[in-house]
Amino acid sequence: MTITLRPPASDIGHCAADSSSARSSEAAAVRRKLPIVAYLEALPLTLVFLLFFVVPIALVVVVSFFGYETYRILIPAFTLDNFRDVFSESVTYRTYLTTVKFCTVVWAITAILGFFIAYFLAFQLRSRVSQTVLLLVCSIPFWTSIVIRMIAWIPLLGRNGLVNRGLLGMGIVDGPQEWLLYSEFAVIIGYVHLYTLMMIVPIFNSMMRIDRGLVEAATDAGASTLQVLWTVILPLSKSGVAIGSIFVIAMVMGDFVTVDVLGGGQVASVGKQIATQLSYLQFPPAAANAIVLLLAVIAMIALLVSVVDIRKEL
């Protein structure tokens, strides 16, 4: 699985140009002359994204200016009331603060953990088979139910859960610790559990593209393992870290399921706030909130892209 953030169409020209056979460049010319076939092939994909992504997102923008009443969900209008509400309520600032805190903490943990695990897989294992098997071990949970993976923390972190029993049994604490579950701590544990893989895979990918000769050269020149890690491997896997970070930030910023299950009503995030508004069918304020959230996510991603030029790195 290779993830590139570059439009692939530009590669095709190279392929055709590289080929020495006259026939293949002729075939390529024929292919270029017939974009109609390409259009037909891209049509289902385009329709799905137009209908279920572009139009809905545009509607979120439109609806954020709508009015609403208790019994009428959507009233076409142009009002800034929804945005005024978003920015005038103190709860907004609290939820954004919590969400950004989650984002920062989870990003730091998953980036460090993901980097070292990817490094272990890419550079410390010596056979392809063990690399594949261990990467598979990491990714299998990704394909199982997110809700179950969150619910699974409840018998561990709960009041009578395994962790509390262990702590009590060892005499570390006097009574059951309440902050383990239905708390910000539990939500962070849940995020790290769910999203570390989102870091491991892109970092692993960019590490596998590093020329091993560079590592050898650094070692020959007297660099220690840690120096190689810090001065050679880390700079060269920045693009993987950046892509992983984009995934993790997008997931955490918009999440409401983990906050719901592991926060247990004690924790509020922006996503949760939007979901709550939607459960009361308050579409316009939810849309205004979503637009603010979207701008925040775009700002964070833009910041990330400006620190690391992804297109140049790939």
Binding site: W143, I146, V257
Partner: protein, 280 residues
């Protein structure tokens, strides 16, 4: 390098990796173990006997919620999403082998869909159906929502596959008189079959487990993950663990079947494959 002594950092990282695997699988394992609680057992340890009581409870009529209805819907939706994801990603991958105006815009839209917070997508689709006055349902709005999540993965895999695809095979087919459709059907698809299995795996399991994009787009009748989320807030018995163990088992079964399928294809190729081109 082989046989050289491992640097000390290797052992530290091996321990870290081991702990990470325990962290990854430990909670799921706990749920599976607790699903076998005795009939008197509770939601946490200790085990109060061992039984299949809670699995049997799942099959009793309406113990809690609409488990089997939501299960059927999730399976059906997963199957539709899987077929559509494989088909549309393959077609999209083929399209991106040529230059076509708008290719770059479409590519960035696909990437945007991948990183867009799910709650926004979900809200948008919900609002669209609300405005059009169409009832939201798992086979319409939720199907669309799932495709915005599975197709980016499918397309990215296909792009990676076709980046490495050797066009000489197609040229050979054309030289032998194969038409465009024949080339795709008998040459391209068999060669990339293992990747298509991979896309199918992504499509089905990601749809079957999806919750964030489904939540506002599913309408009145829930899918299984949403049913589970609703159940867990007032669950008082280990029946929810039995359901969790069952659905995890199903996911693992699908993953295993796909891996075995890919391995079987590889093995039969090794055995029956021609050696043409090996000398080049």
């Amino acid at each position: 390098m082989h046989g050289a002594a491992r640097p000390p950092i290797f052992y530290g990282l091996a321990v870290l990796f081991g702990l990470f695997v325990v962290f990854l699988y430990g909670p799921i394992a706990t749920v599976v173990v607790l699903a076998f609680q005795g009939p008197e057992g509770g939601l946490v340890f200790p085990m109060n006997g061992v039984s299949l009581h809670w699995f049997a409870e799942l099959f009793r009529p309406q113990s809690i919620g609409d488990i089997w209805g939501s299960f059927d819907r999730s399976i059906a939706l997963g199957a539709i999403v899987m077929v559509a994801t494989v088909l549309f990603s393959l077609l999209g991958g083929l399209a991106y082998r040529r230059r076509f105006p708008g290719a770059t815009v479409l590519f960035y839209i696909v990437i945007a869909s991948l990183v867009m917070p799910s709650v926004v997508v979900s809200l948008g689709i919900g609002a669209m159906f609300e405005m059009l006055g169409i009832e939201r349902a798992w086979y319409s709005s939720a199907l669309g929502a799932h495709l915005t999540w599975t197709l980016p993965f499918g397309l990215l895999i296909m792009l990676a596959v076709f980046n490495r695809f050797n066009p000489a095979y197609e040229e050979a087919a054309r030289d032998l008189g194969a038409g465009g459709w024949q080339t795709v059907r008998y040459i391209v698809v068999p060669i990339i079959a293992p990747s298509l299995v991979g896309v199918a795996l992504f499509g089905f399991t990601m749809s079957y487990d999806e919750i964030a994009r489904t939540s506002q787009s599913v309408g009145a009748l829930n899918t299984l993950p949403l049913e589970l989320e609703a159940m867990q807030t007032n669950a008082t018995t280990p029946v929810i663990y039995a359901l969790g163990a069952m659905t995890t088992g199903l996911s693992l079964f699908v993953i295993g079947a796909c891996l075995l399928g890919v391995m079987a294809v590889r093995r039969s190729r090794d055995r029956f494959g021609s050696d043409a081109g090996k000398a080049v």
